[in-house]
Symmetry: C2
Subunit: 506 residues, 2 copies
């Protein structure tokens, strides 16, 4: 058994416990770990570090780099004060709390860009890369598990590598991954990926065996994803998107299979993708950073012919299902480094149709997808910017209101801009679809108010526009009122000034 | 003479006057013209259309697409009410005025993206492409003049093409251009450009001769650029950038020749580039969208070994100089379509060092480069986003104050976001340099206040941060104060509340 998991003979003598290995970690070190949206993250060593902290109470903080969010480990580290700096994405409540208190320096990043930062040297040395693996090949090659993330660049640049072999995962994961990193500058070559299904690299992360300082054996499970089930509103949004895409196909502006699809992390994006199971499209292709349950539902329904991703982020049931059928899925699925799954070069070349979630959108189509009230970080921008900027068609989705209608997701001025108007072609709420393509700002405002805002807020939005346009400008605003809705929310817990006359009668 | 300018015999019989050709233009048509930052723009036909309007007064509006800003023609058309829709960039005072009054639907775009919009079909048909040319080849190939812009995609997609041959320009322009457009999806191939100097296409824009409906002969001159001379503040900024780049080279984080340089349009960017003439760097390479005077100064000084651009946008004197020495420059310069000069795929592959201007920057490094007070369009985002998002190093430059100190360019919250914090690595004012790489938002605020804000505003900025941080958040803000500085400016013409104590003593 161990022969199959550690095929390099010399490395079999480097098997250690997580408790031994964590003792190498010192205050101020930079640690780079596998893991992308809770999937395939290195768990054993970091959790052992947390136990040491509990035991000794010593003051120790690390800088922690990853692919994207880790599972429960992010919270375990944050709640013990073990994190000094964290990048490039997170989604844990405890970590989020510490970030928003300013206790942890959180650097939010476009997920395709972290690898370039590592190459640039701006972040200094990486002391250890800790990578969850299915197995190690004869030559030290590390076969990842359920995500690739930034592991290839971490392994390349770290001083030393620790491999956590997860014995609970099937060896059939070998062959699912395609590991390729852009070559060095100058004379960097084009990334030779032309179709979603192209394999351009190796099935393992190359690593000189000598660089692997320790191998840990573990059976720790990924933290399952917790997407909520589709509801009436997400079903309506999926319906609007299907209708829109059908219209575009009929007009000859999209290919019959739509083109490669990307859909962001989270319940809404998952629900929208689920909607395609009932849709009229066949031979779909997926080119995305994260495959949630819906992507596998589409594969199982025979709707998707190939899916490229950076990770599987699944519910417990779907995870069991997928891991038990890897032999079958391996022909239809590939996992890539996030630098490739999200690369502007590839996203634009393929003509990806991008569907991402928004926290709030403003009258001109600027999108806030990260900061509640402009200040408090939710999860991070993730890959949404990599896709939205370079997509052939960029769609954002959000319910038109939140908190039982007390918050409008369509507001005069977003309190934080992750995606400037240029990166936003279409916005969808349960109310309908605002097709912003080819519209100037004043036209965008009308489309947004008329088609996607909640009726409770339409009149107030129109009032704002009227007031703003009286000051003229290509993008009319009344700066004294721009954040008025958010201030009202802060002061009285509701963005509405009063029930609109129509609703008062009801 | 005409034999050299119109080498296709059949086309010599299609020579018309601009007055004849303009009569083909009807109300509601979409017209796509050559021209990029006042350079190589089609002038004759559109100005003849303006004369018709003066004569007949008929109600006629066109949708006008171009590469970027035209010369005086933009103002001539706007002041006569001839423009319904305009994209993707402009810089004319009269056009700007009409845009800000909401009389013209202006669609601001990342300049690499217009070609994709044309392909997508969202904008409908292009009735005429009007292209300024040096000559037409035997096969109908159109040799551009001093810019390439979007002319290749316009010629490909327009129903009919009108060529304005500019007899005042030397035939030696032939060979300066390299025309390549990305191939069709699916199966679009990588753009095979790996070095700044690579030639990957043809020296002319391919066009079936039958598609050319008319050839006009003209001698109209490009509107000269009007960059102001470097001053003490721009010289200080250039000094800071030189020092910073030297430091990065010494640390081994940049190659000895820095890497391919991009610098935006305008006086500040031009002045900063001028500063390199005195700098320690050799074998510089330029990969940019517009070469202003400074780029040729660097070529003449032997500092630059090769420059790739989309246009020459020059003062009258430099224009004469360049046009008289084309035989020499042709070995060191290439003009490309803006889709290639600005393409994310290439900018990221080459590792471009991008230097772009900002109108205002906020405490967290978000940049407004287009909208005065968040409402009034200046010129447009241009190519700055194409470069800043994908650059190896993205630098923004602005003077720390404007209007005799009454406006701070460093403010709590930008009133419009063109470049989210992620796209901004370094900000430079005459006061110094804020190196934001690897900093979390709260750290960014301190670097910005300490290093680049004007002393008149530093205390007020610190007050804002103190107040904002009391509310917590990853990106602390006090929304009730966020636009307070702009409101003060609107109300009292000055962002300052009162002289700071230190300065009052002086």
């Amino acid at each position: 058994m161990l022969e199959q998991r550690i095929r390099n003979v010399a490395l079999r003598s480097r098997v250690c416990t997580a408790d031994e290995v964590q003792s190498w970690i010192q205050n101020g070190m930079t640690i780079a770990v596998s893991g992308f949206t809770k999937s395939g993250d290195a768990k054993a060593t970091l959790q052992a570090l947390a136990r040491r902290k509990d035991k000794t109470g010593e003051p120790i903080k690390i800088n922690l780099l990853s692919g994207a969010s880790l599972g429960e480990t992010d919270g375990i580290l944050a709640s013990r004060g073990l994190l000094g700096m964290r990048l490039p994405f997170q989604s844990d409540p405890d970590l989020r709390k510490s970030i928003n208190l300013g206790e942890i320096s959180y650097i939010d990043q476009h997920l395709s860009e972290t690898a370039e930062w590592i190459r640039s040297g701006w972040l200094g040395d990486i002391d250890f890369a800790i990578i969850e693996a299915t197995a190690i090949t004869e030559n030290g090659g590390i076969i990842p598990t359920t995500s690739v993330g930034n592991s290839p660049i971490f392994v390349e640049k770290a001083k030393r590598v620790i491999v956590e072999i997860n014995l609970s995962l099937p060896l059939e994961l070998e062959g699912v991954h395609d590991i390729y990193l852009p070559t060095a500058r100058p004379n960097r070559q084009p990334i030779p990926l032309v179709n979603v299904r192209d394999r351009i690299g190796t099935t393992y992360i190359p690593c000189p065996p000598d660089k692997i300082a320790a191998v840990i054996l573990t059976t720790a499970q990924d933290t399952p994803s917790n997407v909520s089930a589709p509801d009436a509103e997400t079903a309506a949004m999926a319906g609007h998107i299907l209708e829109f895409l059908s219209h575009e196909v009929n007009r000859g502006r999209l290919p019959k299979n739509i083109g490669p699809l990307q859909s962001g992390i989270g319940s809404v994006a998952n629900a929208v993708l689920s909607g395609l199971v009932q849709g009229p499209f066949h031979d779909l292709e997926i080119y995305t950073e994260v495959m949630q349950d819906a992507a596998f539902e589409l594969l199982d329904a025979g709707k998707v012919r190939f899916a490229s991703s950076c990770s599987f982020t699944l519910s417990q049931a779907m995870r069991r299902h997928v891991l038990s059928r890897l032999g079958e899925y391996r022909e239809k699925v590939v996992l890539r480094p996030q630098e490739i799954s999200n690369h502007p070069e590839i996203v634009r070349r393929l003509g990806v149709i991008a569907i991402n979630g928004a926290l709030e959108v403003d009258l001109y189509g600027n999108v806030n997808s990260t900061h509640v009230s402009g200040t408090h970080m939710m999860n991070g921008v993730g890959g949404s910017g990599d896709f939205a900027r370079n997509a052939a068609l960029s769609i954002f989705v959000t319910k038109s209101t939140a908190k039982d209608g007390r918050i409008s997701s369509v507001i005069p001025f977003v309190t934080h801009v992750d995606h400037p108007e240029h990166d936003v072609d279409v916005i969808v709420t349960e109310r309908g679809i605002a097709d912003l393509r080819g519209l100037a700002p004043r036209q965008r405002a009308r489309a947004i108010i008329d088609h996607i805002a909640h009726p409770d807020y339409q009149d107030a939005l129109r009032d704002y526009v009227r007031h703003a346009e009286s000051h003229s400008g290509n993008t009319p605003h009344a700066l004294d009122e721009a954040f008025g809705w958010h201030l009202r929310l802060q002061q009285q817990g509701d963005m509405r000034t009063m029930p609109s006359p129509v609703r008062a009668v009801n």
